[in-house]
């Protein structure tokens, strides 16, 4: 039996400032993980990744594991969790900037 497909979001970095971004269901890039489209079908994931890789202002789009949460998709792996926050040694990045976007 093939392994069950784990849900994914599509994430990348913004071309201009490098900030972490997520692909939403309506083809926008959001700074907020919870706004991402949670993709639960493997074929759809591959198609959406191709869409993402064709957009102009996103760099290095890839599929990252995610799970359904109360307010939208949540990261599964710690690397992706760090990417939703920023570095742990300073209050820089999303953890302080989220309020402004």
């Amino acid at each position: 039996m093939s392994r069950a497909f784990t849900p994914k979001v599509i994430t990348a970095n913004d071309l201009l400032i490098g900030d972490v971004i997520y692909l939403t269901a309506d083809d926008q890039w959001s700074r907020d993980h919870a706004a991402a489209e949670l993709i639960e079908d493997e074929a759809h994931a591959q198609l959406r990744l191709l869409d993402a890789q064709r957009t102009k202002n996103a760099v290095g789009a890839y599929l990252a594991d995610a799970k359904r949460g109360a307010h939208g998709p949540e990261p599964v792996h710690f690397r992706e969790a760090f990417r939703t926050r920023g570095p742990s040694n300073y209050a820089h990045g999303k953890q302080v900037e989220r309020a402004h976007v």
Binding site: L16, G18, G60, H77, F78, R83, P87, N89
Partner: protein
């Protein structure tokens, strides 16, 4: 201080203008990321986890006050008010916006700095002993040679597309403060029987996924033969180095696969061809360069204030005991300014700290500043009588920590707080170890100890050559830290031994504490350093301390 030639200045300006156009074409969509990536990497621009990163070279670690102030201004204008000094004598800015990078490069070019060859499969920034030109144990200042190598390697057409990155380190002392044995080429100055200076040439050292101590291919290379010899090594590597497999592409693998004898033979053969072609031009250039690296005019002054302060002020005494090194002039000292305040990020300096360092270098240090691969800042020439005032000026700035060479003077790579390749965090581990041992008030009692931490197998934090090395890994989606013991990056270089299974993020500091407790218990006297004790005792007692339950299980 060496000033770059007009040729260099023009080259950097042209490169900056080209890059500005490339950035514009990337932003308007004419260049794809695949097309742009190699161009940005050629100019030191990486894309990390949260933002772009710009890596700026500090050739052989030498920087002047004006350049330091420019770095501070860049940090304030384009970044978040700080910079990160790295183990390769570079500075990294963690938050530049892509559109601003051409302006940053232009500001850098104004003071003769750049980001060229800080990335890519080229000859990287040549690193040198950070005490160069000042150390009491030095045969000669290695920086003229480092500068000669920089000029020769910059944009060298034959060596822009090597099989892999290529790193050269050089030291002018027999004491190796530049980790020469862990570089693609390590050059260590020695004297021959006639007393003439030359180099021991070490090839094929490197850390990363295949850590190896370099192999000596020449015990004594006359100084005048250096450039053709280095070119011969590069030339042989360029031909033989594997381009089919990135993990087998470094010269250490070439050496391993070709064998030392055959590789040496090929190098010597190529050297015989190349040497006549240089025709002495390299030596004429070296003479010019050497003149620019002369020692500043040292002062004659009364030194009694130093002794008085040393006796009277315990904070000054503690700082003097750890942060000063012997200078070739008996009335001078080499000052290491620690960028390792307990709990701070190793190697980070705020713009205010950079400006203070620039000011102090002008007031007390003949305007010379060095950056060490151990992520600290050096004022190489300070007169004894100025040390109390220097220390007083550092106090309250976060730069006065008396911990150089001690357990909290940790090398740590950016790890998963910044680096896209990381498998675990390294900075918070360094912060916690430093804070913990500061709270225990043990670090001066523990004495000389080098902890080095990397956030993945690439080993940018040199963990293999740490007396205690820590490697952060991802084990089934959880951060896990592997410990190596007994590593050494000096002239007696050794790759550390793996202690056993790794530790979880919240177990790593207690694990380090157990190692230290075992050392304190077992050392013969406080004079026996951790490394000496390890060499005497071997892994067993430390392993027992790290994994106490295993001992119990065996006994049962």
């Amino acid at each position: 201080m060496y000033n770059y030639t007009d040729f260099d200045a023009d080259f950097v300006r042209t490169r900056t203008a080209q890059f500005a156009a490339q950035v514009a074409r990337r932003i308007d969509g004419s260049l794809t990321e695949d097309e742009f990536r190699p161009l940005r990497l050629m100019n030191g621009v990486y894309l990390q986890l949260h933002a772009y990163m710009l890596r700026v070279a500090i050739p052989y670690g030498s920087i002047n006050p004006q350049q330091m102030r420019t770095l501070a201004q860049i940090a304030d204008t384009y970044d978040k008010g700080y910079g990160h000094f790295t183990t390769r004598q570079n500075i990294q800015f963690n938050w530049p916006k892509l559109v601003d990078i051409p302006a940053i490069l232009s500001d850098l070019a104004d003071v003769g700095m750049h980001a060229i060859q800080t990335s890519g499969n080229t000859i990287r920034n040549v690193t040198a002993d950070h005490f160069a030109g000042a150390a009491a144990d030095e045969i000669e200042d290695p920086r003229p040679i480092a500068e000669l190598l920089r000029q020769w390697s910059t944009d060298h057409p034959e060596f822009q597309f090597l099989p892999r990155k290529f790193k050269i380190a050089i030291t002018g002392s027999s004491t190796d403060r530049a980790v020469t044995r862990a570089h693609d080429i390590g050059l260590r100055m020695v004297r021959n029987d006639a007393g003439e200076p030359g180099f021991e040439v070490i090839v094929g050292g490197g850390l990363g996924r295949t850590p190896l101590v370099g192999t000596t291919v020449r015990d004594f290379l006359p100084k005048a033969d250096l450039l053709p010899y280095v070119e011969a090594v590069l030339s042989v590597y360029n031909m033989l180095g594997r381009r089919d497999n990135k993990y087998k592409a470094r010269i250490k693998i070439t050496l391993h696969e070709t064998g030392k004898e055959e590789l040496s033979r090929l190098i010597e053969e190529r050297f015989d061809e190349l040497r006549p072609l240089f025709g002495g031009n390299d030596q004429a250039l070296l003479d010019q360069i050497t003149a620019a690296f002369s020692t500043p005019e040292l002062r004659q002054a009364d030194t009694s204030a130093y002794a008085a302060f040393y006796k009277a002020d315990p904070l000054f005494r503690s700082w003097a005991d750890t942060n000063l090194a012997a200078h070739k002039h008996p009335d001078y000292r080499i000052v290491t300014i620690s960028l390792k305040a307990h709990g701070a990020t190793p190697g980070d300096a705020t713009s205010a700290q950079m400006r203070l360092i620039a000011d102090l270098a002008e007031r007390f240090g003949h305007s010379e500043i060095r950056i060490s691969h151990e992520q600290n800042v050096i004022l190489p020439h300070v007169h004894l009588s100025d040390l109390p005032a220097l220390h007083a000026a550092l106090r309250g700035s976060g730069l006065e920590t008396a911990n150089v060479g001690l357990i909290s003077d940790i090398i740590a790579c950016p790890g998963m707080d910044y680096c896209a390749l990381a498998t675990a965090r390294s900075i918070p581990v360094a912060q916690q170890i430093a804070t913990r041992f500061d709270a225990l008030k043990l670090e001066h009692d523990i004495g000389p100890l080098k902890i080095k931490i990397s956030g993945c197998i690439n080993a940018c934090g040199h963990h293999h050559v740490g007396h205690i090395g820590i490697l952060g890994l991802d084990r089934a989606g959880v951060e896990n830290y592997q410990i190596t013991l007994g590593g050494d990056g000096s002239e007696t270089a050794v790759i550390g031994e793996r202690a056993g299974p790794g530790f979880a993020y919240d177990e790593i500091v207690p694990a380090i504490e157990r190692i230290i407790a075992a050392y304190l218990e077992q050392r013969q006297s406080p004079a026996e350093t951790f490394l000496q004790a390890y060499r005497r005792l071997g892994l067993a007692p430390f392993k027992a301390a790290l994994y106490p339950d295993e001992g119990k299980r065996d006994a049962a």
